[in-house]
């Protein structure tokens, strides 16, 4: 099965302004998005993810670099000539048109006949479950309903790629979770390539086939949610996604001697000198019988989270470590602040960070 590339960015640079005031929004970003995948651009505000999205849509023109759509160079094409549609963060629904007119707008602009427009519109509204609201104006709808209209409007012209710019950020938590499921479903049903922008890492992890993590105009890592989570490439990615622990140590005979004295196994790969290790809290277990490679630690605090219990611990050198345990059936871990315990890091779960 060949994988076709839906969208490709080649060394895209975007600079706003000139001289000392210049803002470097994108510093030579390159990536390939596969046809039919749900791809998420993830990063904090100002990282450039929205700028990149707008370059794909055509609202921004890269200072240098290229944007390709199904192998065609569209860098110079205006947005109304790109078979790409956008769901805006503020929805941008036309207030003077009904829901049906909004959804049919793109089709009308493409010159489709009225009959075809009408049938596609009703199909789209059924897809997002808004058929009964076809004649309402956007102001009369709730936030969640407006969001679905925006979605239907963008899907109606059957674009090659659908761009979504933080579309769920204005919704409350429950609605947001619901819509996350909806979006996944829609993407599977339509098979259209989705490019999703968000700063919410949990959202990215649950919805995406692949994630591109960005920071300060740079693309740091692309991978599946599992890859990003378990094998973060640098400190920023590790810290941004989920919770993690950082341990400092030096390379010694293919392993790493921590600052606190113990030696742990880690994929050193020919590196030397000081490096940073990362291990997820759920990969840190508290064991009864110490074995070589275990880390002695003192319990500082226990927090009960229902299904999980978080345990804040301190190593010999003062390094703080968090362990996430599944809460025992009784709810009591039997651990007290001040208790001395031993920590075991799951085999293969320790990552070495670049950077």
């Amino acid at each position: 099965m060949s994988i076709t590339t839906a969208v490709e960015a080649r060394d895209v640079v975007k600079i706003y302004g000139k001289g000392t005031q210049a803002v470097h929004a994108l510093n030579g970003v390159s990536l390939s998005i596969r046809a039919g995948e749900f791809f998420t651009l993830l990063g904090p505000s100002g990282c450039g993810k929205t700028t990149l999205l707008r370059c794909i849509a055509g609202f921004e023109t890269p200072t240098s670099g290229a944007i390709l759509l199904s192998e065609r160079d569209i860098t110079a094409a205006p947005p109304n000539q790109r078979p790409v549609n956008t769901v805006f963060q503020s929805y941008a629904l036309f207030p003077h048109m009904t829901v049906a007119e909004n959804v049919g707008f793109g089709l009308q602009m493409q010159g489709k006949r009225r009959v075809e427009v009408a049938s596609t519109v009703s199909r789209m509204l059924a897809l997002v479950k808004l058929d009964t609201l076809a004649d309402r104006k956007p102001q009369q709808l709730s936030g969640g309903q407006q969001q679905r209209v925006a979605l239907a409007r963008a899907l109606a012209p059957a674009p090659e790629v659908l761009l979504l710019d933080e579309p769920l950020s204005a919704l409350d938590l429950k609605l947001r979770k619901e819509m996350q499921g909806e979006l996944k479903r829609l993407q599977h049903e339509t098979g259209i390539t989705f490019v999703f922008v968000t700063h919410d890492q949990e959202e990215a992890l649950t919805m995406s086939d692949r994630i591109g993590v960005m920071q300060s105009g740079n693309l740091l890592q692309i991978g599946s949610p599992r890859d990003i989570y378990n094998r973060p490439v640098n400190r920023f990615v590790a810290d941004f996604i989920g919770e993690t622990n950082f341990l400092t140590g030096t390379v010694e005979n293919g392993s790493v001697r921590l600052r606190s004295g113990e030696v742990v196994a880690a994929p050193v790969d020919g590196r030397s000198g000081t490096l940073t290790l990362t291990v997820r809290p759920e990969q840190v277990r508290i064991v009864a019988e110490p074995a070589p490679g275990d880390l002695p630690a003192t319990v500082r605090d226990i927090t009960y989270f229902g299904t999980d219990t978080h345990c804040q611990l301190q190593l010999n050198d003062g390094t703080q470590v968090v362990a996430r345990l599944q809460s025992p059936p009784s709810g009591e871990t039997g651990l007290e602040p001040g208790a001395l315990v031993n920590l075991r890091l799951t085999q293969g779960a320790v990552q070495v960070l670049g950077d």
């Binding site: 109304n80 629904l93 602009m109 963008a154």
Partner: protein
Amino acid sequence: MSIATESGRSRQTARNGWLLSLPALVLLTIGAAGPLLIVLVYSFMEKGQYTGVTGNFSLQAWFEVLFRRDIFDGTVSLADAHLTILWRSVRLSFLTTLITFGLGLPTAWFIATRPAQSRAFWLFLITIPFWTNLLIRTFAIMEVIRNEGLLNTALLAMGVIEQPIQILYTDTAVLIGMAYVYLPLMVLPLFAAIDRFDFKLLEAGYDLYASRWALLRRVVMPIIRPGIIAGSILVFVPSLGAYVTPRVLGGGTNMMIGNFIELQFGQGRNWPLGSALSMVLLTVVMAALLVYVRVSSRNDAHG
């Protein structure tokens, strides 16, 4: 406390409000509103021999607004001269509105799409002509369009024409003058409407394959419609009642209602007719303003 105190206090508030406003109300009643009543009364009076009225009731003036009675055989017919003037006023005001819209929409759009810092500057630039003396502006246009003026001299020098085009003292001159004078009045409400316009909607439109023209027609115009109506009325109404511009640029011949009214109080020596015509003008203006108020309050309701 007690309800009596509440309403007592609000009565006090209302009374103080009225008291404070009283000087203004008195001044305006004597100096503006009151005299209008006198005009109304005069329109129902018989005209005096040389000037003023005789004090007898008569509907003659109202009759004369539209009709005339042939002095020889008594037949009633439409007063062509009057109708020509009325028609010219309506026609020129309408055309002025169209021209100012054609020029004003792009100008308002331009100002509204400037970065925030320079926008105040461009607005200032539009308002200066607005506050400049009407006479000065009319005179300035006159200097441009007269036979020895800027326009004709330029066209002659370029060889486009061989003789100066007579623009001054024609309907066209009045039209040019009014469009020039009232352009800022069209730009400002349009600017206000465009300023409120959500430009993200343009992005959405382009995203959905609209051309620039389609966007203008299907998205921009419907949404700024209240501004279009406001601007149109703000131009149409003063154009209708224009006096200085048609007098200076139209000479004595291309009269509009305002000049015609003045005539009745001057050489025409028909004060009742002048009063009746004034009432007609006032009524039309009030009607247009009512439309304006209705439209803008409906616009506010939409938010």
